[in-house]
Subunit: 341 residues, 2 copies
DNA sequence: TTCTTACATGTAAGCGCATACATTTTGATT
DNA sequence: AATCAAAATGTATGCGCTTACATGTAAGAA
């Protein structure tokens, strides 16, 4: 099927040199006279030679490729993260190969294996679902196994281990502060909505609980303020509507989708936003401004985290034996809009 | 870096057979006795052998991989399409490698080259920006060049050529019908909002113009109803607000993002939706239901198109010499919500 | 001029696999 | 037991490239 017949031997013959020389000019080796380099480049320019990556890979065992694993690319947060990562990796001459793992462990393991089998130079896991609940269960064993082969980077996740590096958002703090500011504005009944038990979701929950306790709520009461929902606008709305004794004047959601479900709930209840109820989302995605009223949201600086992650990958891949810290934190920023006072 | 030292020779030695036999059991060849197959499989199970894809690829010149090119993965439509494609390709044993081309020609060419250099078995271009305006300009020359190497499939685009296959939505018809239904409901001034000159955008414009002409509007008047905007909620809103003599009671947008911009405009103007103004979006994405009021949108059956595309790819890749039609059309469906009566 | 060096280029080995072809084994048939 | 076809297995080659090492060459030193 593939007909790029022209190989290094063709170029060598056509330019009257050996394949070693061709290889040298292709790889920018400095041990080539300017004259022959030009000669070879001319031929290449004429016939359009591209090295066969398989052959290169076979020898070098690398393809200048990094694998990116996401639970699902059909998600605002994931797809924008992938876009940032890709942009950045390209700058450094690396291509990326994408894996959609789904949320179940088997899918994650399988896709990790798939990516590794492509001889990626590094693996990036996007999203905290890859970090389990932060404890070292066997649910993250496959990550540690992968790290035996290539450096593994986790965006907003936290898995300990040799050769594993994490970039995390300061979610706990962000939610704590968001909740605290609501409390300061006199809100009495704040609930926290989430669809997940992931590492990141847990941090957010902790932030919420800490804020609640800080104003004297009992531990149980704080915990009861956490409501688990599905990650779907209408189902969030319906679930809240179905809760007859739900009485709240403040909602913090673990993502914007859920926050919008909350907005729909408030609207259906005939409440005024933000007078009767304040709502804060998370991720500061396009969804947040697509809603009316536009949703106040916590920005977790995805672009910055992605750039930073790629920088760190390059530090390792470029052979730098310089020790990298295994975990860096990036603060979040609250973007105030119409759903808060 | 990569330490998967165990290769086919190791397995052969450990199981007391030749590498040819190991290769045969790996590839499920039937010319292996049950006894030796089991013997080899046992060893493999024990030491965990995975064939080196480079070596495989070098010989076979294929890696069971298809390339997917999108202008940007950070877009609802693109990312969901990629998700569908990936899911479907996996089922057939193909992995996918993603390229983010950006919207400029150079990026498209470069990324196409990158994907081809990875020895993909087929190339999928997602989105009509790859089809230019439908005319055969040199802006699509690189696609025809790629098609000389592998079969190229375009999702919602239209480029003619050997080895190029397209799946298109019936956008013209969908917009025509949407506009016509608005007209039937007595709307007098309908405008069409778009951010693009792509093949798909042009079809939509044509549908709009045809509908306008069908109720006696002059060609010029129909054309003047087309307003070019940026693909950004707030900028759409602001641009419309800035048009002092804009007087319309119906808006059709070429995607949901723009439609929501229109909603924001109407809201800012204090209009009642849908009484004073009807708005229809396109793609039926999550954005459409995240807005309040929820936006009526045209669903272009992305999932169906993607599945269908993969089916056709497989027909070709599985060596079927069966002739495929170079273009198939899929109808769209209007999903009525709160922005239409 | 002759020897030395540094630099430029060429030669050949191997990376791990699939597979055409060669060889051996099996088992059925006589 | 002898024969032969079919089935199972092995041998050896090539896929296109990088690179250590070998060889060649030109410039400078003696």
């Amino acid at each position: 099927m593939n007909k790029d017949a022209v190989n290094i031997y063709d170029i060598a013959r056509m330019s009257g040199v050996s394949i070693a020389t061709v290889s040298r000019v292709m790889n920018g080796s400095e041990k080539v006279s300017e004259k022959t380099r030009k000669k070879v480049m001319d031929v290449i320019g004429k016939v359009g030679y591209t090295p066969n990556v398989f052959a290169q890979g076979l020898g070098l065992n690398t393809m200048h490729t990094v694998g990116i694993l996401v639970p699902t690319i059909a998600d605002q947060y994931m797809s924008s993260a992938v876009a940032y990562l890709e942009t950045e990796l390209i700058k450094h001459g690396y291509d990326c190969i994408l894996g959609n793992s789904g949320f179940d462990l088997e899918g994650k393991q399988k896709k990790t294996e798939m990516l590794l089998s492509k001889h990626i130079d590094s693996l990036i896991l996007v999203g905290s679902t890859y970090a389990g609940d932060g404890s070292d269960t066997n649910a993250t064993e496959y990550i540690r196994a992968a790290a035996k082969r290539v450096p593994v980077f986790i965006i907003n996740g936290n898995v300990n281990g040799e050769n594993i590096y994490a970039s995390v958002c300061e979610d706990e703090k962000a939610v704590y502060e968001a909740a605290t500011s609501m409390l300061r504005r006199g809100r009495k009944n704040i609930v926290f909505l989430t669809d997940s038990h992931s590492y990141s979701a847990n941090k957010k929950k902790n932030g919420y609980e800490r804020a609640m306790k800080s104003v004297g709520k009992a531990a149980k009461e704080a915990k009861d303020g956490i409501i688990y929902v599905e990650n779907h606008i209408h189902r969030v709305r319906d679930q809240l509507l179905a809760m007859e004794n739900l009485k709240c004047d403040g909602i913090i959601a673990s993502n914007d989708m859920i926050a919008i479900g909350a907005v729909k709930y408030a609207l259906a209840k005939g409440m005024d936003i933000p007078e009767d109820i304040e709502i804060i989302g998370y991720n500061n995605s396009t969804l947040a401004i697509s809603c009316a009223p536009e949703v106040t949201s916590i920005d977790n600086h995805t672009e910055e985290i992605c750039k930073d992650t790629v920088d760190r990958i390059m530090k390792i891949l470029d052979g730098g034996e310089e020790k990298l810290s295994h975990k860096i934190s990036v603060p979040c920023t609250l973007i105030a809009r119409e759903t808060t006072m």
